[in-house]
């Protein structure tokens, strides 16, 4: 760690939530973006974020800038990757430590929405400021890889859920329809969920069973995305 050379440091955050696609009605991944109010990239959409003050933890700066712009305070906010290509920002090198989070729909509904903060479908983004399209693509890739071997889908669901709700999360993340019977067999044989013995209230005829995650199964991830470190 000799001879460090100063560089501008920033944090940015990718937040995913499930929302219905406006055309198909199926759940898809959405994320909030913030309109830039200064150059460079004036008026273009960008990930929530900002510069890193000298005395603030990286995760703290990510949480604060996210809260200030969108009003969101996700339970899980974890480091995704650090982007530092010399040419990624005009007018001087900026290294961005990127965090990410998944939020439940109820939580997502609390986000600020105005002319400078809006939700976009993750697979239909406009050209974003800086290399933020590439950052979102990387986050999507990580999410789609992780959903297959971890309980990451849990972050989108409440404490209990139906198998149909769990399947819907997998379908939204993987962008493909899954056969309900096959999905049920796969999930049940994995042992990752437990039948709570309860059923959805207020459904008169054959209400669906409610499941919860099986905490006794070793989770690859301890949090939503990546284990907390420390």
């Amino acid at each position: 760690m000799n001879g460090q050379i100063g560089a501008a440091l920033a944090v940015s955050t990718v937040i995913f939530a499930l929302r219905p696609d406006l055309e198909s009605g199926f759940s898809t991944l959405w994320l909030p973006l913030v309109r830039r109010t200064r150059e460079p990239y004036l008026d273009q959409w960008a990930l929530p974020g900002g510069g890193l003050p000298t005395d603030e933890e990286l995760a703290g700066a990510a949480a604060r800038t996210l809260r200030e712009t969108t009003g969101l305070t996700p339970k899980y906010l974890e480091q995704l990757y650090t982007f530092g290509d010399p040419g990624r920002s005009p007018g001087g090198r900026v290294v961005s430590v990127v965090y990410w989070a998944l939020v439940e729909s109820d939580e997502a509904a609390l986000a600020v929405v105005d002319k400078n903060v809006q939700w976009f479908s993750a697979d239909h983004l406009p050209p974003l400021a800086f290399d933020h399209n590439r950052i979102v693509e990387y986050a999507l890739w990580r999410l789609r890889t992780k959903v297959e071997y971890s309980r990451i889908a849990h972050a989108f669901l409440g404490e209990t859920f139906t198998l149909a709700q769990l399947r819907e999360v997998h379908e939204a993340v993987l962008q493909k329809a899954l056969d309900p019977a096959n999905f049920r067999r796969t999930i049940e044989s994995s042992g990752t969920v437990v039948d709570t013995g309860q059923r959805v209230a207020g459904v008169p005829h054959r209400p669906p069973r409610l499941y919860r995650y099986n905490d006794s199964v070793h989770a690859v991830d301890s949090g939503a995305l990546e284990p907390a470190i420390g």
Copy 2:
């Protein structure tokens, strides 16, 4: 990405290789460390690394500082995590982007070893400079988690290997003995390795079969540790 505030940026690298434990003879994880030749932490051991020049890619800086100090040029060098606690470096904040790599024993044997570069057993480290003990602990944790669901062990092996060699890698990483018959059944049923039809040369009586990784199986990771991005 407004209002970025300058901070010192550095890169460091954790390199793991398998070497026999000096007492037990069993394979264990080792890593090369570099003795610091200046303050702070003069004469203490530290991860290979250095400051980030303005025009160098993060991964390029990690590879260069690693090569300059240890002579190693790993095939896979991937981003692990960015450490940026305000108090982690005396005399001014330093944010370190940490890379990691796994190297085969043949490659590790080419590393420079002198009074300022030495290999240490990953589980028996002296107090290192800065927060480097914590960084190594985090890397070990990630490695031990990943070996269970990815083909990460491959990075320690050549193109073909015996099941005993593969088991030895898992044993070294997980720090526990694995039953050979159970391990064989688990690996064979996973479909992740393929019998090449060849056997180890030069062994007259029942030479062990040689296997290779099954490239048609979806790999969670495309490289050694983390998929390349870009």
